[in-house]
Symmetry: C2
Subunit: 221 residues, 2 copies
């Protein structure tokens, strides 16, 4: 009796979202290991460096393939390349930054993510004073040119650092213009069509979490 190959790849098996989050941490740690000249790492070692159990590490990675060698562990370089491919960062992403205020300018200057295959190619703003200028070498266009800028540079992701009151409407325009993912710095919950994904950074919320943890330290200890 001949069977069709069973489809148990990532497309049919549900990969927990938390596992994808940890994938980024594994990658970051693998890159540190490589910097330290370490060539192989076991799930126990990798987990210890990140505060995860060995089982967690193996399970997470096994969702995506057979990357390890029994008796040896994982080869750091090989695994980091595999993880990059899974995350989609084996190739370069072109990003647009929207809102060239204090925070936006700092991010243009920061460049902390460039080494990780994300490159800001253009900025958008509504301020006529900014439009037409360059900030940190990056040209600033009017928001109404979003669709054109996005198409010209093959942009799929946006970093949005506009004031909260206009954030939803700005994101709506970006979605209209074809953006597929949004990193949002405005402290509001953005409504998006299902085909667009967002991540957000809210420093007030993170500080609140620290506040809670510190205040409740006695109880949780």
């Amino acid at each position: 009796m001949v069977h069709e190959p069973t489809r148990d790849t990532a497309s049919s098996v549900q990969v927990p979202e938390a596992a994808v989050g940890r994938l980024s941490l594994y990658l970051r740690e693998l890159q540190r290991l490589l910097d330290e000249g370490i060539e192989t790492v076991s799930s126990t070692q990798l987990g210890r460096r990140l505060g995860f159990s060995d089982a967690q590490v193996r399970k997470d990675l096994a969702h995506f393939g057979h990357f390890g060698y029994p008796g040896i562990g994982y080869r750091c370089l090989e695994l980091s390349e595999k993880v990059k491919t899974i995350l989609g960062t084996n190739r370069s992403w072109v990003v647009v930054l929207v809102g060239v205020g204090n925070l936006g300018r700092a991010l243009l200057r920061y460049r902390g993510f460039e080494q990780q295959s994300f490159r800001i190619a253009a900025a958008l703003d509504i301020d006529p004073q900014m439009v037409g200028s360059r900030v940190e070498g990056i040209p600033v266009f009017g928001l109404e040119l979003a669709a054109e800028v996005i198409k010209t540079h093959g942009i799929r992701l946006a970093i949005v650092c506009v004031p909260s009151p206009v954030a939803q409407s700005v994101v709506d325009q970006l979605v209209e213009a074809g953006i597929e993912g949004v990193l949002n710095f405005a402290p509001i919950t953005i409504s998006l069509p299902k085909h667009v994904r967002s991540e957000s950074v809210d420093l007030a919320i993170q500080l609140e979490q620290l506040s809670f943890a510190v205040v409740n330290k006695e109880q949780s200890a």
Copy 2:
């Protein structure tokens, strides 16, 4: 000073850590409702605005007390005050910012979290050129004065935006000086003693998560 990375499993059995994270989102949304002049909200309404189920909202809040009124819902003002008390943000927190580089200066300028009861009272740096100056009105001290600055201002939380290679050692010094919570912008996993809590912001990781979601959109849809 070497510590094990803090384990998430240290969270209390009674209240899931994820529920505490959502508490901040409830608070943010309650403040928007108040701005809109809305006085009461049901778990269904609040959940819809945040993308959570009504049961989730009720369950999360019920971990901390009986805040609702059957037949009516939750009174926005009252609930927001209760949530602030739980999070510890009903009172003001004094924060120190460490590392006055591009990102640090942007955060000093940003002030997005001041309205949420977090106030940066002082900055620390090792650059002799910076030490003794003021940035955005905030005085910059040498890192070696950490303990004194922390004690003088009653500081318990630190925002750390120093380069990755020195982040662990800087945090070690802050812990030594008595800091209780750290918001870390360096893209590394920081080892901390169990009594110190950390949150981190890593833009590269958040962009990677967007990258994954966009690349795997077909499968996940």
